[in-house]
Structure formats: C-alpha cells, structure tokens
C-alpha cells in the first residue's frame, strides 16, 4: 500500500483525537487511584452515564452552541455528584479493607450502574445529532476532516493544563499530591481526608463523564460502552504510571497513535498490539512511563490477621464428611446436579490455584485466566488435532500452563502490588487477543468446538469422579505445600519481604515456583472445563474469567484454605439462581449482593465462620 503524505498527516490527527479521548477517561481513573488507591472498575460506568445523560440533556436544551455545551458540562457535573454519592455510600466503608476487596466492590457498582442505566434509558442505542456549530468538515491535505475532531484534539492538552494548574497552583492540588504520596501522613497533619476523597472522586468521575459526554456526536451510546472503554483506559493508566496524569497523557498519545497507524498496516491484530505495548512497557519500566514505586503499603495487599493453621479435629471430620457426601452424591442426584457439582469443583480448583499465589504468596494476580484459558485451548488443540485421550490431554494442559507461568512469572516476580496485578492482566490480555485474532489456529470467536472425552469418561458420572479425584488431589497437594517449609517461606515473604530476605530466603525464587505451581493447577482446571463444555472459547482467557476467580476467593474468604471451595459453591449457586429467576435484573441483584457482602463481610464466608468460631 502506498501512503501519501496526506494520508499520514490525517491519520496523525485521527490518532491525536483518539489519544485525547483516552486521556480524558484515563486521567480521572489515575487521579482517583493516586489518592484512594482504589482500582475503580466502575470508572467506565461513569463514562457511560455521562454519555447517556448528555444525550438527554442536549435534546432537552435548545439545539444551539450554548445548549449543546451547556448539556455536556451539566452532564459531567451531575455524574460527578453521583460519583460522590457512590463514594459516600459504598467506598467510604471499605477504605480499610484489602485492596482486592475494594476492587470487588467497584465491580458490584459496575453491575448495578449497568442495570440502572438499562432501566432508565432502555435498550435502544442512542445517536445524538452532530454538535451545533461544528457540523462541517475542513479540507486538510486534500481530505475532509470533521471540525469536531479538532475540538477533541485540543481538549486533551486543555484538560491536562487545567489539571496541572489545579495540582500545582491551588491548595487542593497540594493536598491531592500529598495524599498521593502518603495518605496517612496527610491525615496525621490534620487534613480532613473524608472531604479530600470526596473532592477527588468528584473530579475523577466528572472527567470520565465529561469524556463520555464529548463522545456523543461521534459515537453511538449503548450499554456496552462501559466495559469496552474500561480495558483501554486501564492500559493507558498502567502504561503511563498509576497516579501520574502527565504519564497518562503520554501513554494515551502512544496508544492512540499506535492504534491509528496500526490499523493501516495490521488491521487484523489491533488488539494484540495494544496488550503487547502494555507488556513491553511494564517489563522495561515496571512502574509505567512516569510512575513511581508504590509508597509504603498501608496494609499489604491482603490484610491477614489470623495465620493459617492446620484445622482442628472437628474441622477435619467435617470436610471428610463433605468428601463422603460428594463420593456418594451421584448415586442420589440426577445428571443435572452432577454437572452442577462438576462446574463447582472445577471453579473451586481454579480459585484454589489462584488462592495459592494470592492468599499464601500475597501476589495479586489479575490475569489468572491466562492459565485457565491456556489449559482449555491446550486440551482442545491436543484432542482435535492430535486425537490424544482425555488423561493425556489434561497432562498436556497442565504442562502448557506450567511453561506459560514460568515465562510470565519470570517477569512478574520483580513487581509487587498493583503493578504486578497489571502485568499479569497484560499477559492474560495478550493471550486473549491471540485467541481472538489468530483465527486459523484458535477459531477466533467461535473457539474450538466438538470435543469429546475418551469413552471411559464419556458418561457424566464417570467424568464427575475424574474431576472429583483430580480436584481432591490437587487441593491436598496445595494444602501440603502451605504447611511445608516452602509454604512458610512464602507466607513469610508475603508478610514482610525485608525480614524474609534477611533470613536468607530467596523470595523471588519462592514466588516464581509458587506462580508456576498455581499456573499448572489453573491450567488443569481449564482443561477439565473444556472437556466438560465440549469446547474452548476466548472467554476462558478474558478479564471476567480472572475476576470470577477473585470473586470466588473473596466471597469464600482469603484467610482460609477452604475459602475457595466454599466461595465456589456460593458464587456458582447464587449466580445461576439469580440469572435463572431474575431475567433482566440479574446484574442489579448480583451487583447489590456483591456490594452488601463486601461491606458486611469483608472477610468472606469461610473467614466469617472462622472468626466467629475463634471467639
């Protein structure tokens, strides 16, 4: 393809316009994270709300220049207040909770907002008229270029400048910067951090809503826009450095331009490109382009007060009883309940494998789906291409996941906290985009269908026993490791890296091995799932698959080894029942349930029981 200079210049402008948009959304997220340390998954939801409200307001106001911009600004301000409301009602109650619990709460908020938006504005997608006064196009380099995009291009630097003025020329800015560096110290100096947090939340959500409102003349407004903007925003914030507004702008420029030119050269692999950039940046600059290493962690990623001890006699008897019940279950219950039990067991194994690095190792992985999905695809490819029997294919799945975990883990162990979470997420996103876009191998969106198990495991009952025994053995192995010297070293490193290293323990090596073990079991779970469903799909590698495991662990409780198992049963049960009986409202109810659980039982179900028992 021969590109004229005009093509390149116009594409440059397109890239700048897209960058501005990315920056506006990302800046809000970055500011909120910088001060509150909350990874706000609901950020995209405020962006969506801003867009919806702007459409309503601009149609309500007269179709003049003032009416249009008035509508945009009002929408941003109103949604900013909604942000404050959410902060006050939900997030304020959990600032002391572990960070992953907060993340889960924002996930609940995301679900609720999505459903509320559906109820208010309905399902029809909205398409606002062009912006008054900016409906035309300019001739640039022999091309037509929409005037409105020029406004968008300018908006990025303008907002960046305003944020800079706010940060460096006002008292609030000083406080916000101070809180970004050390929140406890700011509190100790007598600053009312409640008000500070509210202001920050207002600012952040307002920016998101403003970005959404600005999109209405170029974009259709629909219920999927919250999630579709979220991943890109996270990439920008992480690449730029969490909490750095200027970094977010640079990252937005990088991603925006890469996207604009990538489309011309590699139109089929746009998704892979973006995740690849994120991974490369994080490998060479672990804290993003302009980010700084995390300040003193307040409480570690997971507040764990009670150390894990081997269970008491009655505890062991209880779980032995559970095992016996599971063993005789197929004689009592029908095939449907057996498949439910299979699903729960697989989910429990998957969550337990994450718990091993997260709860025991203290490594917050946000990309555990990478191993789960890889295991599923390994089984699918081995079965469909090589025709290997079930047990061999499962071995291959575990092995493939172990290899992947060894590679990814080698990069990950140098990081901790939120940056580690983001790098794991980047790796999972790379795997996901490969699965989606390498159509010849993976079938793209279709996945790989038509898998059958070996005759010995073809019946549901036979497969149930296979899954049960594999899960049982895997959980026992992990339990054994937790109470072995290896596990003690891992737990020591989780609680204090410095002291552990002073004892002569190689923290990185231990963590690396933990990641590999966890990846292997995750892959095994994915393989079992593929054989259960009869296919492997890209969703197995997606962010929501990773979040599922987190939700399970947090519902069950991080501080206990049985947490993932209890959580799997509870989560699967609640989710399927809610979806079954509530039709359209399942997101609302699931979201509210998660929020309530998080606010009332931040330690999870099993953790709650354990705490009660300890009293």
């Amino acid at each position: 393809m021969s590109l004229g200079i005009g093509d390149v210049l116009v594409q440059l402008l397109n890239g700048l316009s897209y960058s501005s948009f990315l920056f506006l959304v990302a800046a809000g997220l970055s500011v909120i994270f910088g001060v509150t340390r909350i990874i706000n998954l609901a950020h995209g939801s405020f962006y969506m709300l801003g867009a919806y409200l702007a459409v309503s307001l601009t149609t309500l106001f007269p179709p003049t220049v003032i009416g249009f911009w008035g509508g945009i600004v009002c929408a941003a301000l109103v949604i900013g207040l909604v942000g404050v409301l959410v902060e006050t009602l939900v997030l304020r109650r959990i600032y002391e909770a572990p960070e992953l619990v907060q993340l889960l709460a924002t996930f609940g908020i995301l679900l609720v907002i999505q459903n509320v938006t559906l109820k208010i504005w309905g399902t029809e997608e909205l398409f606002a008229p062009r912006a008054p006064g900016l409906t035309g196009s300019l001739r640039l380099f022999g091309r037509s270029f929409p005037e409105y995009h020029l406004v968008l291009i300018l908006m990025g630097p303008v907002v960046l400048g305003l944020l800079w003025l706010l940060s460096y020329r006002t008292r609030w800015g000083v406080l916000i910067r101070a809180a970004t560096q050390d929140r406890d110290m700011v509190g100790a100096l007598g600053v009312n951090d409640r008000v500070l947090f509210q202001v920050v939340f207002f600012l952040g959500t307002m920016l998101a809503a403003f970005a959404g409102a600005l999109r209405i003349p170029v974009d259709t407004i629909n219920l999927q826009m919250d999630l579709s903007v979220l991943t890109e925003t996270f990439v920008v914030v992480v690449v730029g450095g969490m909490g750095s507004v200027l970094g977010a702008y640079l990252a937005a420029l990088l991603i925006g331009l890469l996207h604009a030119f990538g489309i011309m050269i590699f139109p089929k692999i746009t998704l892979v490109l973006m995740s690849l950039v994120m991974a490369v940046v994080l490998v060479f600059r672990p804290y993003g382009l302009l980010g700084k290493p995390e300040g003193a962690a307040r409480k570690g990623i997971l507040a764990i007060e009670l150390p894990i001890k081997p269970g008491s006699l009655s505890f062991n008897v209880f779980w032995l009883g559970v095992l016996v019940v599971l063993l005789v279950a197929p004689m009592v219950v029908g095939s449907y309940l057996q498949t439910v039990l299979i699903e729960i067991l697989i989910l429990a194994l998957y969550a337990a494998s994450l718990h091993f690095v997260l709860g025991i190792g203290g490594l917050p992985s946000l990309g555990h789906a990478a191993y789960f999905g890889l295991g599923a695809y390994a089984v699918a490819l081995a079965t469909s291409l090589l025709g290997v029997p079930t047990l061999t294919s499962l071995t291959i799945a575990a092995f493939a996941a172990v290899v992947a975990a060894a590679i990814f883990g080698w990069f990950c162990i140098r990081l901790s906290g939120i940056y580690l979470a983001m790098l794991t997420l980047a790796f999972a996103q790379i795997m996901w985009s490969i699965a989606l876009q390498w159509v010849d191998l993976t079938g793209g969106d279709n996945g790989i269908l038509g898998l059958y198990r070996s005759p010995a495991f073809a019946s549901i009952t036979a497969y149930y026993y296979l899954v049960l025994s594999i899960c049982f053995i895997a959980v026992l192995i992990m339990r054994h490791l937790v109470f072995a010297p290896f596990g003690y070293a891992l737990r020591a490193a989780r609680d204090s890296v410095l002291r552990t290293e002073a004892l002569g323990i190689d923290v990185r090596l231990h963590r690396w091995i933990a990641l590999i073990i966890s990846g292997g079991f995750g892959g095994l779970a994915g393989g079992l799932q593929a054989l259960q469903k009869g296919g492997a799909f890209p969703d197995g590698l997606s962010v929501s698959q990773s979040i599922d495991a987190l939700v399970v662990i947090l519902i069950g409780g991080v501080q206990t080894l049985v947490g993932p198992i209890v959580g799997a049963a509870a989560y699967f049960g609640v989710k399927t029942e809610i979806m079954r009986y509530l039709g359209d409202s399942w997101q609302l109810v699931l979201g509210l349930t998660i929020i309530l659980l998080v606010v009332l039982f931040p330690q999870g179900i099993a953790g709650f029981v354990k705490q009660r028992a300890a009293r």
Binding site: E124, R143, P146, L223, I263, P267, D445, N446
Partner: protein, 407 residues
C-alpha cells in the same frame, strides 16, 4: 416517580416474567416447554423486538390450539454474549427444566456452540438469527435448522447489483469474527465469479465492538477504492457512517451493505442515512401483503409499536417450532427432524419452507437502496428476494455438508 420506586417496580416486574407462563385451559395438561436463549443484554436493539415477536407467536399458538395440542410454554434466558455460558444454560434447561426443543441465537459463534450442544444432546435446535454458513454446511448437523437467510444467501441478494456497478477497485470492512470473515469471503468469491476484472484493494477488520471509526475510515480512504462492501451493523455501523459522511468517504463511491436496512439499525441513523447504498433490510411500512398486514396489525395490537426485523425473526422462529411440534404430534427429536425437513410455514414475508438438503429455511429479505427524507432513512427501489431463488446447487451443498448431517 422517583428512581428508587421505579427500580423496585422493575425488580418486581422482571422477577415475575422470567418464564412466560400461559393461562392453562386444562390444569392437568403438562405444557410443552421450549428453551430459548439469546443475547438480550449484549444486543438489545435486535433482541428486544425479537423477544416481542416470539411472545406474540406463543400467544397466538396457545389461543388457537386444538383439543389435542398441549399448551406451549417458553423458558427464556440471556446468554451473556458468551458461548461457554450458553452451553451451561442450555445444559441446565435440558437436564433440569426438561425442555423439549431449543431455539434462539444471534451471534454466529454462539449459534455454532448451541448447534454443537444440540448434536451432543440429541435435541432439535431451531436457530433464529446466527448467519454463518457453517451452521448448515461445514458444521451442519441433523438437529440444527435455521430460519434467517444465510450469509451466502444475503450476499447473493446483493451481488448481482454489485456486479452491475462500474466499480473495479473494492474495499471491504467487517468485524473480525465468524460472520464478518464468512461474509467477506463469500462476497469476494461470488463477485469474482461474475466480474473477474474486479480487485480487492483493502480490508479493514475491527475487533467486534471495538471500531475506532475515524482512523478506520481514513485507512479505507487511503486505498482509494471505487466501492466498499460493508458488514458492520448496530452501534458500529452508525459510527462508521457518521465519520464516513464527515470525511467524504462515500462521495463518488458505491457502497453495498448487508443488514443496514433493518429498522432497528436504520432508524437510529436518522439524518446520517447515506443515500444510494445497496442494502438488505425490511421496509415494513411500505410492504402490503396479506401476511405482512396481518402481522403488523397483530403486533401493533399487542405492543402499540411497529415491528422490527427482529420481531419477524422471533415470530417466525417460534411459529415454525410450534407448528413442527403440532404437526409431528410429538417432541421426539427423530419425528421432529423428519417433520421439519420440507415443512412449510407462513411467515410475515409469505410462505417459507425448510429445505431438506441443508435444513435452511427459504425465508428471504428485502433488497433495495437507501434514501432519506425529513431526517429519516427508508428503503426505496426495493424488492423481495425470496430464499427459494438464492440457493446454491445441491452438489455445492453436498460437498460442504457432512454426510451424517443429512441422514
């Protein structure tokens, strides 16, 4: 009414409608349970009218049932837009709720997963909207029937007109997933067969739902095509059209675009509607056949709204499914399969038939050009392309469809 009260009302209302129960005439009669799964949350613009369509069909069927017909009940669920979730739900419907027939589907990848499930579980699946050719050919199986015109048929509807255009340099744009990949490949093949002199100079493949319209439009313009073949739909289509309008992508270029004339997509475009595009669609307000008039009247009476294309698909799918069950006098899969093969049913577009060769229905679509008046788009110069006239030769089908699928 404040938000909270509205919310509470909605919660109450929606929990009441999880299954569409029917007032039973005889309490001792066990209703026939049909399972229906579709992308309600992910693609509401299509699936909401679709649901209204099939609910109408169920209501009519129960009102008109004879003394020997069991009442019909439908259990309907959202697939979350994910194939694996869909399989989980289908499994629950089959083994726990004991559905007797499966229907639904919108996205092609989910349709394929449901069809695989149907084969595995030996249950008849009447696919509503998944368009991919694989569903009836390469991955076809005995249990899967499809209502809407396949990608092959849709391409064939427009390709004759595309071949008549003077354009020689073509560019394509489609989402990088099953439907887009199959559609573009079909279009290239069929157009090349008629016009060996055309060349395809550029392709754009945005990831599904991730179109960045400005850059994509520019990348298409950079290859300087004479004409463009488009398969974007829904939200992405609108974005693409507005950017294209503002950047003069469509001036002096012909555009052939599948599905763009569906009211659910066309009505949202309003003043942006691009004139002169060759599209497939459903100009409901201009069609006056007895079947169409009856359908529109019944639909208006029940919903006080006009039908979209999704309504037709939902209505026809459910109607065909129920008629097959009643004709077979049973829900035994084998009996249903032999009844459905070659069965005729009256759709809002007139009589259609399920072809025995590949279990595809002969439902057609309307082909025409887009025009705009008073800020509203509509179709002009349209004609009905009947599915009967759009089929490939039987040998063509045989070469693609697995032998055991036609047993």
């Amino acid at each position: 009414m404040n938000l909270r009260a509205r919310l509470l009302m909605f919660i109450a209302a929606s929990s009441a409608m999880a299954t569409v129960a029917v007032p039973s005439q005889a309490a001792d009669e066990k209703p026939i349970l049909i399972g229906e799964i579709n992308s309600y949350a992910a693609l509401p613009q299509f699936t909401t009218p679709y649901r209204m369509g099939w609910e109408l069909a169920v209501e009519e069927a129960n009102a008109s049932r004879g003394p020997n017909d069991r009442p019909i009940e439908v259990t309907s669920r959202d697939d979350s837009g994910k194939p694996d979730e869909t399989i989980l739900i289908a499994n629950e419907m089959l083994n726990d709720q004991h559905i007797e027939v499966l229907t639904g589907g919108f996205l092609s990848n989910i349709g394929l997963a449901m069809s695989d499930f149907a084969l595995r579980s030996k249950i008849v699946f009447v696919a509503a909207e998944p368009l991919t050719d694989k569903l009836i050919w390469e991955k076809g199986n005995r249990y899967t029937f499809r209502v809407v015109p396949s990608t092959y048929m849709q391409v064939k509807m427009v390709v004759d007109q595309a071949a008549k255009l003077p354009a020689r340099r073509w560019a394509t744009i489609a989402d990088n997933y099953e439907l887009g990949q199959v559609g573009v490949a079909q279009f290239k093949e069929q157009l090349k067969a008629q016009r060996p002199d055309v060349e395809f100079v550029g392709e754009q493949w945005p990831a599904l739902g991730k179109l960045e319209a400005g850059s994509t439009v520019e990348a298409l313009a950079a290859v300087k095509p004479d004409a463009i073949f488009n398969m974007l739909f829904g939200a992405e289509l609108n974005r693409f059209v507005r950017e294209g309008n503002q950047r003069d992508l469509f001036t002096g270029r012909d555009v052939v675009s599948l599905q763009t004339g569906y009211p659910e997509y066309l009505d949202a475009m309003k003043a942006e509607t691009p004139k002169g595009w060759i599209v497939t669609g459903y100009p409901w307000e201009q069609i006056h056949t007895p079947e169409q008039d009856a359908f529109v009247a019944a639909y208006r009476k029940k919903y006080n709204d006009y039908p979209r294309y999704g309504s037709v698909v939902g209505y026809t799918t459910m109607k065909a499914t129920i008629e097959a069950i009643r004709k077979a006098g049973s829900t035994d899969p084998e009996k249903l399969i032999s009844t459905l093969r070659g069965m005729e049913v009256t759709s809002p577009f007139g009589p259609i038939m399920f072809r025995p060769q590949d279990q595809q229905s002969t439902l057609g679509l309307y082909v025409g050009k887009l025009d705009m008046k008073d800020g509203r788009g509509f179709m002009t110069d349209w004609k009905y392309a009947s599915g009967k006239d759009l089929q490939p030769s039987d040998d063509f089908v045989k070469a693609r469809r697995p032998a055991e699928a036609s047993k």
